[in-house]
Symmetry: C2
Subunit: 377 residues, 2 copies
Amino acid sequence: MKLIILKENLNKGLNIVGRVAGKNLTLPILNNILIEVKKNFLNISSTDLELGIKYWTLVKTEKEGSITVPAKILMSFINLLPDKKINIEAKNQDLFIQCEENQTKIKGQSPEEFPIIPIIEENEIIEISAPVLCEGLSRVVDFSILNQARPEISGVYFNFQKEGLVLTTTDSFRLAEKRITLIKNPTKNISFILPQKSTRELVNIFSEYQGNIKLRVSPNQVLFEYLMTETSHPEIQIISRLIDGEYPDYQSIIPKKYEVELIIEKDQLINQIKTASIFSGKSNEIKVKTDSKKGGIEILSQNPELGENKGFLPAKILQGANKEMEIAFNYKFLIDGLNNIKSKNTFIGLNGEEGPAVIKPDKDTTYVYVVMPIKSS
Amino acid sequence: MKLIILKENLNKGLNIVGRVAGKNLTLPILNNILIEVKKNFLNISSTDLELGIKYWTLVKTEKEGSITVPAKILMSFINLLPDKKINIEAKNQDLFIQCEENQTKIKGQSPEEFPIIPIIEENEIIEISAPVLCEGLSRVVDFSILNQARPEISGVYFNFQKEGLVLTTTDSFRLAEKRITLIKNPTKNISFILPQKSTRELVNIFSEYQGNIKLRVSPNQVLFEYLMTETSHPEIQIISRLIDGEYPDYQSIIPKKYEVELIIEKDQLINQIKTASIFSGKSNEIKVKTDSKKGGIEILSQNPELGENKGFLPAKILQGANKEMEIAFNYKFLIDGLNNIKSKNTFIGLNGEEGPAVIKPDKDTTYVYVVMPIKSS
């Protein structure tokens, strides 16, 4: 294997595939990156057996071949080189790198030891805009939770319908749902549960990309593919294992009506909740109280050891102006939901001390966040 | 105690005194801030018994008095309030705070329980520009080290001479010395050792200030004082315990001549050392080799498990162009020194495999960094 590549191009690829390599103690080969040169493409890949990432770039090939080397060493090293041409050559399982006045040898391993990253043969192709997918996922991914007893909620539920894609997560205390439109819809309903870690990597990697992502789904795996604009050759492939199981039928949990509905300025509300949280103690409990006389809500918190706090915020009450209620919430769950509202004002729907509350943008109907109150013991 | 204060003014003070409060488990009162109102001044203070910080600001006093409350609660709370007037009142060891629509009670403690921060009566006053002191300290403070066997090197050595102030630190592997000029010199030589932690707080607090700091030194303590521009009343007082003991007579360690002297571009050198460090392994060892033929130095590193690296850098050789030497260094020590060189080029003085090497700016003579090679075993 022998090639010439610009530092910038190699670095870009390493930042993409290097993310999953280098964290495995039981199977050291997974700390490596596989480097392959074929025709005029360099392909680098990494895998943690659940998630595989492949990246291609055009290079000047002098000799085809392959090798694997430790990801961390290669990444730190390439990152420090000047922005120039790099000469790379594999000889006897050593990788020789020469860049200007710098000469390096990195000890590698035979590429045969590297696990094979599976290929998905499925024909059905779905197409999504990368920025739309990343924005949608980033608003739900935090609410999935590693749950050994209920592995099906440990990931993001992708539900492709004819009208578009519905993304859902829940940790059983709150639930987030985001609807996005597709560039190319599937011909039939397709759904799967993507592990949280794979989802995070997907968002991290594609958040720099502006084009479209193609999806192929097999019973156990999914492939997210991004093509080079010039050649239509793949540039990035992300292949992830899917989580087994049925996603819970959650639609009945999302309230269709509310006892009290109000519109409130979001940043003020977040600030007031944070202020109250200082006195919430270990339970994280704060109270939301509707105040029909003053036309708004009060946020309250109290802790016998620390002290107490009370703040009022004006709100536009759309529904239930005459209903007084005081509901206990985990303040973190409220802030998590509000942080995903991108508009100035937020809609809040309340259903009493035990019913699910809803946070959603005041106008955009594609996002909804449901949160359960803390039940009084 | 009852007063009105602008949020901004209170917040500024809390950010200064809050730094030392809130980390003590055995003496919980040290987690508190002492708040006192006298005439038209609010004074807030904190201490960890080694270091005390006091801050004053003008307020509208309605009633004099004092209280102590937990620093962390008060700071988090005030920080979240809007930039408005705050009404503060102490009643029955509770602190009541009201700001716009927000009402809070913080449980406090009696001020009698708070330790007294000592006063320094010494008359001799030294005066230093705050930015000059902070810049000088920041270039030496990192090289002092907590050392139970040799407590005297656990701090920064302040040596006031008639020509100015010499600041020195060492961890016995390297030594840094910075000379600065004073606004008002002492009438006699004064020296003391300031604990590393106090030095760091001093730099953090005064790095925002442009005026002069007044110093008073007693046998066991030092006071750094900053006055309000309008009233000449103290704004900040930092009182620190000093470290007992004689600072080592280090002047003989700083080489006066070198076998090889060279001038080299600093950023390139740092980058080349970092590149080599990837292959340095656990010993952190890299080698610096003079190359008279090519007119520069080679940086080398080698590790049987990882690989090896070699890079050449051109240099202007002032002295010893015909002397070939290869010296092993801990790469971290070299980078630490080079990071304190502010000029584009750095002077490097080498004294063979076992002699102390020197890093200093190519023109400024007020800073010197001495580093010992790794001795071959």
